[in-house]
């Protein structure tokens, strides 16, 4: 018996070894420069769709609507990239990911871009092999508590039980905040936000903590949203934005400039409705943006009309904001910091020129 198993194991090993050698080839290729690695843009074009990592269902940011179509602010970033690459915002494969799995999915190449309310931090930017392409939403962490507890401030939370989603910056911020204010707490960490909210609703925790935008989104899912209040304190900076893998600068540029195009379009007053009209404009700035002058889009590896494609697909940043999380949505979140820089906010994109 023992011998048979050894024979079988050896046979498997022999069978595997060519694959091992094969797996080694790309490495040898890149060092010798004999074989060129495919760029992400080429891979996306070959697959015929962008593979985009999103959350597992966060209303306003990325959640399937009643018809099963993904919608939200993060989803619009994916659609805008697909529009820029394919001129078709529907050519996106959405991959729902938990907070814990999202980086591994990006590192391993399962997805081409991660657009999933992810906070930009130094350690994530440097040690995970990823690049943040910019900020699509300026957020901060807050607390939600039952109104019946009669808590008016996060500083009254000494000794409270706190439900949180594991693997998020929220988990560390809450530790910092309570330590900094010399308060005790008990943290119960769940693998995904829905479980954390369920435990909060059942009374296991006094407080649920997350980014403020998420608190509003999750509150909609509760049985009686009116019984719960978001406390005024915002305890951290949470700049959220899309990210890509290290090592493909062209793809990094495409994602980055897609985001900038959305913001610039709002600044220039280009909307989904007037985009065709604006494209005919004689203004030098608009001519550069719409590719009637110069070849900025082609420098990115896209086409001249890339901005027009993007705005036609999703509207500009402001339109996307209002539709998904702002006054046009159930969330009704005020623009706040996310207003354009010249309107009192900090949303600012480098110029397209």
């Amino acid at each position: 018996m023992k011998r048979v198993s050894i024979v079988v194991a050896l046979a498997i090993a022999v069978g595997l070894s060519p694959q091992v050698a094969g797996a080694q080839n790309p490495k040898a290729g890149s060092t010798a420069g004999a074989e060129k690695k495919k760029t992400t843009l080429e891979i996306v074009r070959e697959n015929g769709a962008l593979s985009c990592g999103v959350s597992q269902g966060l209303p306003g940011f990325s959640a399937p609507d009643d018809k099963g179509n993904w919608a939200g602010l993060d989803v619009d970033v994916c659609r805008a990239i697909a529009a820029a690459v394919f001129d078709d915002p529907s050519k996106v494969k959405f991959v729902p990911l938990s907070a814990k799995d999202r980086f591994t999915a990006l590192q391993s190449g399962e997805i081409d871009v991660l657009s999933r309310n992810t906070t930009w931090t130094l350690s994530r930017d440097t040690s995970l092999g990823v690049n943040f392409a910019g900020v699509s939403y300026y957020d901060g962490q807050g607390f939600m508590a039952k109104k019946s507890l009669k808590v008016n401030s996060a500083l009254e939370l000494n000794g409270a039980s706190i439900c949180v989603q594991t693997g998020t910056t929220n988990e560390q911020n809450v530790a910092d905040y309570f330590k900094g204010n010399n308060m005790k707490y008990e943290v119960i960490a769940f693998a995904n936000a829905d479980e954390a909210v369920k435990a909060y609703e059942s009374g296991r925790c006094d407080v649920f903590t997350s980014d403020v935008s998420q608190l509003y989104a999750q509150r909609l899912k509760l049985a009686t949203p009116a019984d719960h209040a978001v406390l005024p304190e915002v305890i951290s900076k949470e700049p959220l934005g899309p990210l890509v893998r290290h090592g493909d600068d062209q793809w990094f540029d495409i994602v980055k400039w897609t985001l900038f195009a959305l913001v610039n379009a709002e600044e220039l007053g280009v909307t989904q409705k007037n985009v065709d009209e604006m494209a005919k404009s004689d203004k030098p700035e608009l001519k550069r943006v719409f590719g009637t002058d110069g070849n900025l889009g082609e420098q990115l590896g896209l086409t001249k009309d890339w901005v027009a494609r993007i705005v036609k697909a999703t509207g500009n940043y402001g339109e996307s904001f209002e539709r998904n999380v702002g006054s046009g949505s159930k969330l009704e979140i005020a623009r706040g910091l996310n207003k354009l820089w010249n309107k009192g906010g900090i949303m600012y994109a480098p110029p397209i020129r």
């Binding site: 070894s17 814990k100 939370l157 409270a160 594991t166 090592g247």
Partner: protein
């Protein structure tokens, strides 16, 4: 009809077997050495390849992160832990939580499992149907569902701390768990503990002595009055001599939660309940099969000696059944340990949750963290199975005697 001769084994396999392991001596040895070398080579290639790819993607690798500050809180820790401790500490906290829930779960699963199996085999119609019903219901529902059921439906519906059910204002049951008074050590604690230790040691040694005496002289000896006397008497004497060893710390509701006392968290209770009742259903079937594998003549022999059904089972049938029960029972223990990783769904901070979950996503060191976690689960499983094999070996030896 003539019986066909047994066909010869396929040529290829026979040849391979002859070439590799089929012969003893240096040729066999050479094959083994080459095989091990090949394994090492493949392993080296995998590691080297992964390291190069990680370096190319600029993903940090190595185990340096283990000494970095974790910076997040853990709800239940049996060793002191705070946010400023390292990931190594987090790993230990998670490991201990996993071991505790596994050991407690295995204990209860075994007790419930044996009870259900005996119930199922009982001549009493009602009891046997209850046992059968338990097994059929529990083992056919997914474990994750049962964990969530206990956590959200049963424990989640308990009142909040302010409306908690209390006994004598010192034991509290609420949706934050069970809070009980804690014994805080005082000056006379050491003497008291020594007395308790002596009593426990005596309680273990006495039955062994009685057994030996029974085998040697045939005289039975009543052990339990002695044991009981020692267990109560010795600590009592110590109490009288050295004075009050403990002070009772009664929990008080202050603000959001109870202050003071000891607390058993609902996550732990839910996980232990779900794991032990679920695994018990499988253990019950394993035990039932084991007992049925013992010839019914053994039962009759016991009865003819005038032993009761309980004595026959305990002294004659179960020892023989253990040989059959042990291997599948080991599997159930391993399953329970591995299933404890479902804790992540209800926020119990086990190894999988705080290390392969939080630590992994905070550091992004997927390969290292997963490798360590795999290694630890493997080690736990191997140790469990080694202990069970040791027990099986002892049973076999005593049967042979």
């Amino acid at each position: 009809m003539a019986i066909d001769a047994r066909p010869p084994p396929p040529q290829l396999v026979a040849k391979l077997r002859r070439a590799l392991g089929g012969r003893s001596g240096w040729k066999g040895l050479l094959a083994q050495v080459l095989f091990v070398a090949a394994l090492f080579w493949i392993g080296y290639e995998i590691v080297d390849n992964a390291r190069d790819n990680l370096a190319n993607q600029r993903i940090a690798s190595g185990f340096a992160f283990m000494s970095h500050t974790a910076g997040f809180g853990v709800s239940q820790t049996l060793i002191p832990y705070q946010e400023s401790d390292s990931y190594t500490r987090v790993f230990l906290v998670g490991l201990i939580n996993t071991l505790v829930v596994s050991v407690v779960g295995i204990f209860f699963a075994t007790v419930i499992g044996f009870a259900v199996a005996l119930a199922r085999l009982s001549p009493n119609w009602l009891i046997s149907r209850i046992g059968g019903g338990y097994v059929e219901i529990v083992r056919n529902l997914p474990l994750l569902f049962q964990i969530l059921f206990w956590y959200l439906a049963v424990l989640g519906s308990l009142p909040s701390p302010r409306q908690s059910v209390s006994v004598m204002d010192s034991f509290f049951l609420s949706n934050r768990g069970i809070v009980v008074p804690r014994l805080a050590g005082e000056a006379g604690l050491d003497g008291f503990l020594v007395a308790l230790l002596i009593a426990v040691a005596a309680a273990i040694v006495l039955p062994l002595y009685a057994r030996r005496r029974l085998f040697a002289t045939g005289k039975p000896m009543r052990v339990w009055p002695w044991v009981l006397g020692l267990l109560i008497g010795l600590p009592l004497i110590a109490f009288l001599i050295v004075g009050k060893p403990f002070s009772l710390e009664v929990p008080v509701l202050r603000g959001f939660n109870f202050v003071g006392g000891s607390r058993i968290a609902p996550e732990f209770v839910a996980l232990t309940l779900a794991l032990s009742t679920y695994t018990a259903a499988f253990i019950a079937e394993v035990v039932r099969a084991g007992i049925l594998s013992v010839h019914k003549g053994q039962m009759e022999a016991g009865a003819s000696l005038g032993l009761s059904r309980g004595q026959t089972l305990r002294l004659i049938v179960i020892p023989q059944a253990m040989r059959v029960i042990l291997p599948p029972l080991t599997n159930q223990y391993l399953n329970l340990t591995k299933n404890s990783s479902l804790a992540v769904a209800i926020g119990y901070p086990d190894l999988f949750s705080v290390f392969a979950g939080t630590t992994l996503s905070q550091t992004g060191q997927a390969i290292e963290v997963i490798a360590i976690t795999m290694g630890v689960y493997l080690l736990i499983s191997l140790v469990t199975s080694a202990l069970m094999s040791l027990y099986g070996w002892r049973i076999n030896r005593s049967m042979g005697a």
